[in-house]
């Protein structure tokens, strides 16, 4: 796809999440208390760390939503993979094995989603709603209904054994307080790197264009010779892998596998993707937009915290932002007409 030219409608749409974020930051800067407390390196570092899980989940979800689907199992899969991570560490697997297997678990859940959606031809909403229960149930089963706590130091000797991965996994999201922005936790770098890779994949590869084609019009895509089912399965599996990685990050953040974690996370992820300009009817959306959407929600939450706004206010604000972000689509043509009217009579 060619890049939209400056000033065109597509361009405006593409920069909308950035503009939204900019406006939020600008308003924060107008407030004295926020200016001094919000705009600090250490604070931004923290917001970024808090964004990682939603952002990684949003990358997977963006693909699914752009292809015209939805994945409600994201939160449960994150919980499942955080428990799997904990169990694997407990069994003494190395970092590489833990990461691979946890991500694969997520991929497997996604594969099941995609497989059922395409072969049985069921609505993604229903299938992933079912998977939401299944994955949550399995994670509670695996965890024996408790949290799984791998020892952070299994005896003085074992602690030094290179295969023991608790320390390295829990280091991903270790928010170390420092007055400066750097050093950032590894999880943040990983998320940024993945965002760049996925943005390129979705924009400039054949697979990425297929995702858009399927989401825009599935029948046309099929008539054009795109193997819709195969691609759909790949999309859900890949998204599942992202939720798996988010699960590893969730483990790292809690330093424990918690089967009841991330309840409702899928809705936060969907909100981030939607704020980022995706359309739930498919065919539109971008990775940078979704990541910015996730970051914006974290900023709003952080800002509300600093301002001592009560929790309910925070929930209301984020709700309003979601509706406004999506409502923009409908309002914009209307406003454009209003602006054009004075100049059009001649």
């Amino acid at each position: 796809m060619n890049f939209p030219s400056l000033g065109s409608r597509d361009f405006l749409k593409a920069i909308r999440p950035f503009a939204g974020l900019f406006v939020v930051l600008l308003l924060f800067a107008l407030d004295g208390e926020l200016r001094s407390l919000f705009f600090k390196g250490s604070n931004f570092k923290m917001i970024l760390t808090q964004t990682v899980i939603v952002a990684i989940g949003a990358m997977g979800m963006t693909m699914v939503i752009v292809s015209g689907g939805i994945d409600l199992s994201a939160g449960s899969v994150v919980a499942l993979c955080s428990v799997v991570t904990a169990r694997l560490i407990e069994q003494g697997h190395g970092l590489a094995a833990v990461l691979t297997l946890a991500v694969l678990t997520g991929g497997l859940a996604g594969l099941a989603n995609g497989g059922i959606i395409t072969t049985v031809r069921m609505m993604p909403f229903i299938v992933t709603l079912g998977m939401m229960g299944i994955a949550r149930g399995i994670s509670k089963w695996l965890a024996n209904n408790q949290t799984v706590n791998p020892e952070s130091c299994c005896g003085a000797d074992l602690c030094r054994c290179p295969g023991f991965s608790m320390e390295s996994v829990s280091q991903f999201m270790a928010y170390e307080w420092s007055p400066t922005f750097f050093p950032l936790p590894d999880g943040v770098w990983l998320a940024l790197g993945l965002a760049v890779v996925m943005a390129v994949v979705l924009r400039s590869t054949v697979f990425g264009r297929y995702v858009f084609a399927i989401g825009s019009n599935e029948d046309t895509a099929r008539l054009c010779g795109i193997r819709v089912n195969l691609n759909k399965v790949a999309i859900y599996a890949l998204a599942g892998a992202f939720f798996g990685l988010a699960g590893v990050m969730q483990f790292s953040r809690l330093t424990q596998g918690d089967p009841s974690v991330a309840i409702g996370l899928e809705l936060q992820i969907i909100a981030a993707v939607v704020i980022g300009g995706a359309s739930l009817s498919g065919g539109a959306g971008s990775i940078p937009g979704s990541v910015i959407g996730a970051f914006m929600m974290a900023c709003l939450a952080n800002g509300s915290g600093i301002k001592d706004w009560p929790n309910y206010m925070q929930e209301i604000i984020i709700g309003v932002v979601i509706i406004l972000a999506v409502g923009m689509d409908k309002v914009e043509p209307f406003i454009q007409r209003l602006f054009k009217r004075p100049s059009s009579p001649n």
Binding site: L12, K13, I15, R16, A19, G20, V23, V24, L26, L27, E33, L37, K40, S42, N43, M46, T49, Q50, N144, N145, Q146, T147, N149, A174, Y175, E176, W177, Q250, R253, L254, T255, Q256, D258, V261, I263, G264, L300, A301, N302, G305, I306, K307, D308, W309, N311, M313, Q314, E315, I316, I317, V320, V321, L324, A325, M328, V331, E332, I335, Q336, F339
Partner: protein, 336 residues
């Protein structure tokens, strides 16, 4: 351009909507402390809040201005949310934190991070698996369990059969109460038989009710006394006992914590006694200890806030009344 304008309008709206509720006070030269409960809706946490405000008022009267920020996790019982709250206040640079950790493990790292940022932390209510805090101010739950056991043993005259319905797997405070109860039975009441002590009720009242019914359908005919380790189990078990027509003192029930319903049951005689904690004192001592620690004074690593046994006989005494109906309005104002 238009989209930008719209964006501005939307954010302005958001901003204005938020501004309405802002308190507008800035931290002057006093200490700014944050109290982080596990949740904000429960009566128990309101009492903790009242205790914290009580401490603030006394400190201010003594010439030590403090600002108390009260902030619970957005979603209750969500460890990740509570971590976020702690982190946000670390980044904000408060002087000290009073924290009731949702999990004894997951909150370790944020508390250690606070230590590195030179922020004093006092843990209240539930334990934490680290030593990096100034003090742990909480109920002695084992003692509470023993107290309940002793009262039940006395009521039964040292003989008969009792049941223990545990609360939930992995809950540290209730496990200690259950252990205290069982220890007391074993050591001081060898004539009492414990029929069952390995069943768990689960986290909600509904689950607890089902578990109680199941337990009573098996042991309902032989049981003389029941110990319930928390509020939801107490209320549900009492209801189940009432269902089988053994309420009103035929089966002696000892509960833990209070609620409107369990107090009603205590008054009507369905519940023989309730072991109660002192959350106002917990909030009060949490803040006081933190301020002492910030002032450079040595504080005890473990501070007990006490438990009391309430029965239908002593529940109208003024001491007990203060525990049962803490003067929340006095500290929190009528709006809360």
């Amino acid at each position: 351009m238009k989209s930008w304008l719209l964006g501005a309008a939307c954010a302005a709206l958001v901003f204005v909507s938020g501004c309405g509720s802002q308190s507008g006070d800035s931290s002057g030269n006093g200490l700014s402390l944050v109290v982080i409960p596990k949740g904000t809706t429960h009566e128990f946490w309101k009492s903790i809040h009242a205790g914290a405000i009580k401490a603030k008022q006394e400190l201010e009267a003594a010439g030590q201005p403090v600002k108390i920020i009260w902030k619970g996790p957005l979603k209750e019982d969500d460890r990740d949310e509570q971590i976020k709250v702690v982190e946000n206040f670390i980044a904000r640079g408060v002087d000290g934190i009073v924290l009731a950790p949702l999990d004894d493990k997951a909150l370790v790292r944020p508390v250690e991070t606070a230590g590195k940022a030179d922020i004093s932390v006092v843990i209240i209510d539930s334990g934490l698996q680290t030593d990096n805090y100034a003090s742990f101010v909480a109920t002695d739950n084992t003692l509470g369990g023993r107290m309940g056991g002793a009262h039940l043993g006395k009521l039964l005259g040292g003989k008969g059969s009792v049941l223990l319905l545990r609360y939930a797997v992995g809950s540290a405070s209730t496990t200690k109460r259950e252990q205290g109860f069982l220890d007391e039975m074993k050591e001081n009441f060898p004539g009492i038989k414990v029929l069952s002590s390995d069943q768990y009720a689960g986290a909600t009242r509904d689950l607890a009710y089902t578990a109680s019914q199941n337990l009573l359908s098996r042991y309902g005919n032989e049981v003389n006394g029941i110990f319930c380790p928390n509020e939801s189990v107490t209320v549900s078990m009492t209801k189940a006992v009432r269902d089988i027509g053994k309420a009103g003192g035929m089966v002696k029930i000892i509960g833990f914590d209070t609620s409107v319903q369990s107090l009603r049951d205590l008054k009507s005689g369905d519940v023989a006694g309730l072991v109660v904690q002192n959350p106002v004192k917990m909030g009060y001592l949490g803040v006081m200890t933190l301020v002492e620690n910030l002032g450079g004074k040595a504080v005890d690593k473990r501070i007990d806030t006490g438990v009391a046994l309430i029965t239908s006989e002593n529940m109208s005494e003024p001491d007990m009344q203060e525990l049962l109906n803490p003067p929340l309005e006095k500290y929190l104002g009528t709006g809360n």
